[in-house]
């Protein structure tokens, strides 16, 4: 079980608990504003973009090259950016804080 906190672009804090599946799915199932997950999690749409709190980057690990290539052309991306459909929920993610990224 992992507790995951989303901070929306309106600065609303939403904490959710999940056991499996992707972080994107957890967010979509709970209507977290700004996480749309249009492509269902295959890394094609970038509508699941979050910024990982700097102190938690270690927990999420690094983005794959395919994910990095998607983020590279996102105007709101920075070094803490992840597509959260690529984050599998497991105990390791417990306690992470994710800032939902702006979109165009």
């Amino acid at each position: 079980m992992a507790k995951i906190t989303f901070i929306t672009t309106d600065n609303e804090t939403i904490t959710l608990e999940g056991t499996s599946g992707s972080v994107m799915q957890l967010a979509v199932d709970n209507n977290v504003p700004g996480i749309d997950g249009d492509c269902g999690g295959v890394c094609s749409c970038a509508t699941c973009h979050v910024h990982v709190a700097p102190e938690h980057v270690e927990k999420t690990g690094e983005a794959s090259e395919i994910e990095q290539d998607m983020l590279e052309l996102d105007d709101h991306a920075n070094e803490y950016s992840r597509l959260c459909c690529q984050l599998e929920i497991n105990d390791h993610l417990d306690g992470i804080v994710l800032q939902v990224a702006e979109s165009d």
């Binding site: 249009d38 269902g40 999690g41 295959v42 094609s44 749409c45 165009d104």
Partner: protein, 384 residues
């Protein structure tokens, strides 16, 4: 080669140069072929604009058959955003439970119908019908209206012998004009009325702007959906094990939809006009000349896709660009994905196998390339 396969005619040029060339009504096009380059150019709207002369970014060019600017498709940022924000919530309605329930009902009905028939010509008897009926949901208008659109035949702009047919296009434009007039007289809950009541920067949308959105909604969602559905039927005909797989593992349906759409890339490419002298793939592109973003080629780029010429229904990482990329990514994607999702669920539940009886491929001529994009017609027999 299997009957349902779509080969990748761009491979050699993509690997060797990264671009290809085609002529189109004396307004040549440099086709960009690699995934990274396609994305970069799609993102770079300042250098590669959509807001050129109406019709010019479409290949084949529609400059000679229309003057109405399609919105938001032929508008660049920052104006693009105002239009897009206005229509986006409407085009997300396919996520609503009621919409999905109605779509499911339409789908089950048409699948039941074709199961009863001896042979079915998929393009006109299945895909066009289902596309037209589903569009009534997106526009929020009575189901019966789909009969009118089905009556137009498969190609609003294309006829048998010419790629671009002004007369056919006029049928659509006249129809839309008429519908707008009706919505002005008696506003309802439909897309026309919503647009007519909308404001942008504190002013009402003009009639011409409403027309621009509606033409695009009709044109953009027709051949694309028809090709996606028809190609999928051909694929399942040759892969009954895939229907069984979907039946047993409905949880992969979402991935299967993305994979079919990646592989079939129903819209081969889309143009842009260079705003200045520039370079792509070490190739000079002159100001006011055209490039195209070749989604179909990018989707077969081995740098991003393992075994790109194979359909792997449960492909996990699938950064395809069939719905475009960046600013102008497909506004109808939610609707299109929902159609495909519902189709797969319904087929998996009801259909055991499909036999292909006879078919004629629809091949696009793109200068040095020839690409199969679907079928002119394909007759099949569905088995329960």
């Amino acid at each position: 080669m299997k009957k349902s396969a779509l080969s990748d005619p761009f491979e050699k040029a993509r690997l060797e140069k990264g671009y290809g060339k085609m002529n189109d009504q004396d307004d040549p096009v440099t086709m960009i072929l690699g995934l990274k380059e396609v994305r970069k150019c799609a993102h770079n709207w300042k250098t590669f604009q959509s807001g050129a002369t109406p019709g010019r970014i479409v290949v084949p060019s529609e400059v000679n058959i229309r003057d109405t600017r399609q919105i938001p498709f032929e508008v660049d940022p920052p104006e693009h955003k105002g239009y897009r924000d206005l229509v986006e919530p409407w085009f997300k309605r396919p996520l609503e439970a009621d919409y999905q329930r109605k779509l499911r009902q339409q789908m089950d009905e048409i699948v039941d119908e074709v199961l009863k028939k001896d042979t079915v010509e998929v393009v006109s008897d299945f895909s066009l019908r289902l596309q037209s009926r589903a569009l009534t949901l997106l526009l929020n208008i009575p189901y019966e209206e789909s009969e009118v659109w089905i009556g137009w035949g498969t190609h609003v702009f294309r006829s048998e012998d010419t790629a671009l047919d002004g007369d056919k296009a006029n049928i659509l434009y006249d129809y839309i004009d008429e519908q707008i007039s009706k919505a002005i007289e008696t506003p309802g809950e439909d897309l026309y009325s919503m647009l007519l009541a909308s404001e942008i920067d504190g002013r009402k949308l003009s009639r011409e702007e409403v027309k621009g959105v509606m033409i695009l909604t009709f044109a953009g969602g027709r051949d694309t959906v028809i090709n996606a559905v028809t190609n999928s039927i051909a694929y399942f005909a040759e892969h009954p094990e895939s229907l069984a797989q979907l039946k047993e593992h409905p949880e992969i349906t979402g991935r299967a939809v993305e994979e079919l759409i990646r592989y079939f890339a129903p819209l081969t490419h889309m143009g842009r006009v260079a705003t200045k002298d520039t370079e792509v793939c070490a190739h000079a592109v002159k100001a006011d000349s055209r490039i195209s973003l070749c989604w179909a080629s990018a989707n077969r780029d081995t740098r991003a896709f393992e075994n790109p010429n194979e359909i792997m229904l449960d492909r996990k990482l699938n950064p395809h660009v069939s719905f475009g990329f960046s600013t102008h990514n497909c506004l109808g994607a939610t609707h299109a994905r929902q159609i495909m999702h519902t189709l797969l669920i319904s087929l998996a539940e009801k259909v055991k196998s499909i036999d292909i009886i006879d078919y004629k491929e629809n091949i696009e001529e793109l200068g040095e390339f020839k690409r199969k994009v679907g079928y002119d017609h394909i007759s099949v027999k569905f088995h329960a």
